[in-house]
């Protein structure tokens, strides 16, 4: 074999080994992060975490108010963001598929999808916190809703675009009005995909911290009052992790474990839903 062949094969071998190394490198990070989270977080995991309030430094406590706050904020954000997102996605896929407006909105929506979430926080601060005069759970929920919205718009539009046209034509041929066709035929056909979108949005929102820092702020106490500052798990983690107190840092790790497990579980479920749909 001449030297040119050998050099080419060597180069190929080097490149392919590098790509294997890169993959192991990428997977290594995931394993490393999860391992550290488990190592640091499992020790602090006890019933107490779910039944007691966040403690003052130096005493024992749990994360109950933060977990409940996060749940309330997430549910509200999804309740506000999902309907608007689904309706907007519906218009883009069903009524205005070939309109100029649709491509403009799609472009803008894609940008909102990856816009820095801290800017959303600033926006909500300007339009809600300043006029109301205080931080509030509502402002936090709206900020999160603004992050849910583009995710839902995008998946709804994509999924409705995948619904085959003969379904619509058959329904219209039976004399159904357009809105009826959309609600009872298209939504039903695209249900799994749309649900995936909502799940992904929930996963994204439940770990978001930046937009909550100056909208919902934080609160040491039990708070179901949406007009007052509201605790949330990510913000509590942020505050506790950066504190000098060891027991606070311990709780931060436990909270981090809870969030990560939740988010990753949601992501995996969403992926399976999407995959099972593709196979149908």
């Amino acid at each position: 074999m001449n030297s040119v062949y050998r050099a080419r094969r060597r180069r190929n071998w080097i490149a392919m080994s590098l790509s294997l190394v890169a993959t192991l490198f990428g997977l290594g990070w995931l394993v490393l992060i999860l391992a550290v989270l488990l190592w640091e977080g499992v020790g602090g995991l006890s019933l107490q975490v779910f039944t007691e309030m966040t403690p003052p430094p130096g005493s024992a406590g749990g994360l109950l108010n933060a977990i409940v706050g996060s749940l309330i904020l997430t549910v509200l954000a999804v309740a506000i963001g999902t309907p608007v997102g689904i309706l907007a996605g519906t218009h883009m896929a069903e009524y205005g598929r070939y309109e100029k407006l649709t491509s403009v909105v799609r472009f803008i929506n894609d940008i909102l999808l990856s816009a820095p979430s801290i800017v959303v926080g600033l926006f909500v601060y300007e339009v809600m916190v300043v006029p109301m005069g205080h931080f509030s759970g509502w402002a936090g929920a709206v900020a999160l809703a603004l992050i849910v919205l583009p995710v839902v718009v995008r998946t709804t539009e994509d999924m409705l675009n995948l619904v085959p046209n003969p379904l619509r034509e058959a329904a219209v041929a039976l004399g159904m009005p357009r809105a009826y066709v959309i609600r009872h035929v298209c939504y039903r056909a695209a249900r799994a995909g749309m649900l995936t979108g909502v799940l992904l949005a929930v996963a994204r929102v439940s770990g978001e911290t930046a937009p909550l820092l100056f909208t919902a702020l934080n609160n040491q106490f039990w708070g179901a009052n949406l007009n007052a500052p509201m605790p949330s798990l990510p913000v509590v983690i942020f505050q506790f992790a950066l504190s000098p107190y060891e027991d606070w840092q311990k709780l931060a790790w436990t909270g981090a474990l809870i969030i990560t497990v939740t988010v990753l579980a949601l992501t995996v479920v969403a992926r399976f839903l999407a995959a099972s749909r593709k196979e149908q």
Partner: protein
């Protein structure tokens, strides 16, 4: 004998009932259509609202400092002197470090997944890499602060200082005591966070290369690497750049992970080992404690600058990705 009058009245009653139902349906149809259209405007309104509110919030600072805001390094809340140069510099440098690492590694992973990975392993590895994107950024932050930064302080940073110490220019880039936290640490963590974006988009566009092209190249005796280098990469260039820009948009705006590990020092230092700050980290750290309208306004101006930069980057990314989608579809 059937009463014809009765039948016709029944028929007309049925017809009016039918007309009423149709009218109602037409009405609900129109209402539904209008509601969905409103929701579309809502999306537009949000973007408009973000821009308007940021600009109006930034006005006091812009009026006071003018364009000098962009070129001043001083950030002093006590004397109300603010300049955005240090955060802008920090944002650009951390993102540059992140892209420098994430782009080659991400591309190599995509090449592995599309070219040499056995099919049954593709999905699990793909999902694992995407989970890396699903991990909330605050987790990267806490992990970076407690695990990664001390690790760097003990190993990589002293090594860099020793190795590059005697070399003229590089010695100032890697100068100073190993703090652990700093610009380099933030850049490395950003690299891990951006990696999945680069990987998943590159993989998708690599998969879209027509098999005929690759088969033809293999047919004339190319090695796998040569097929990737001379067929796949040129064919997918636009899409790959789009994916990279999308990742860059993420890196520029990333807040929590960076806030934990960058050290929050409003100064520009030649060394990447020194603490610095980024736009988003400054806002996250200082906004709730900002007293005085000018301080708040300066932070909102930072937010506006960040939004403008990411908007441009993301717009370019979307434009490029749209172009390749059109070509493939």
């Amino acid at each position: 004998m059937v009463d014809t009058a009765l039948i016709s009245s029944e028929l007309s009653a049925a017809a009016t009932a039918r007309a009423a139902v149709l009218r109602r349906l037409r009405g609900s149809d129109a209402v539904f259509r209008i509601i969905t259209r409103m929701s579309v405007y809502c999306v537009l309104l949000i973007l408009g609202g973000v821009i308007v509110s940021l600009v109006s919030g930034a006005l006091p600072a812009m009026r006071t400092f003018g364009f000098a805001f962009l070129t001043t390094e001083v950030w002093n809340p006590v004397t109300d002197k603010f300049g955005a140069l240090a955060p802008i510099y920090g944002t650009l440098v951390t993102s540059a470090i992140a892209m420098l690492i994430a782009v080659p590694v991400g591309l190599m992973i995509a090449i592995f997944l599309t070219e040499i990975c056995p099919p049954w392993l593709r999905r699990p590895i793909g999902i694992a890499i995407e989970l890396l994107a699903g991990v909330p950024s605050i987790i990267y932050g806490i992990w970076g602060l407690f695990v990664f930064a001390p690790f760097l302080q003990r190993t990589l940073q002293p090594f860099l200082i020793d190795v590059f110490g005697p070399i003229p220019v590089l010695s100032s880039v890697f100068a100073g005591p190993p703090y652990g936290i700093g610009v380099l640490t933030a850049g490395l963590i950003l690299a891990v966070m951006v990696l999945p974006f680069v990987t998943s988009i590159s993989r998708d566009v690599f998969d879209a290369v027509p098999p005929v092209l690759k088969e033809a190249a293999y047919g004339v005796g190319c090695t796998t690497w040569e097929v990737v280098r001379f067929i796949v990469l040129p064919y997918t260039r636009v899409g790959v750049i789009g994916g990279v820009m999308l990742g860059l948009g993420r890196a520029l705006g990333e807040t929590m992970a960076v806030t934990f590990v960058i050290g929050n020092a409003h100064r520009i230092s030649a060394s990447v080992l020194a603490p610095g700050t980024t736009i988003s980290a400054s806002i996250a750290n200082e906004f709730t404690e900002a007293v005085g309208d000018l301080y708040t306004s300066a932070l909102i101006t930072l937010g506006l600058i960040l939004f403008v930069i990411t908007f441009i980057v993301l717009a370019i990314a979307r434009y490029l990705l749209m172009r390749i989608e059109r070509r493939i579809g």
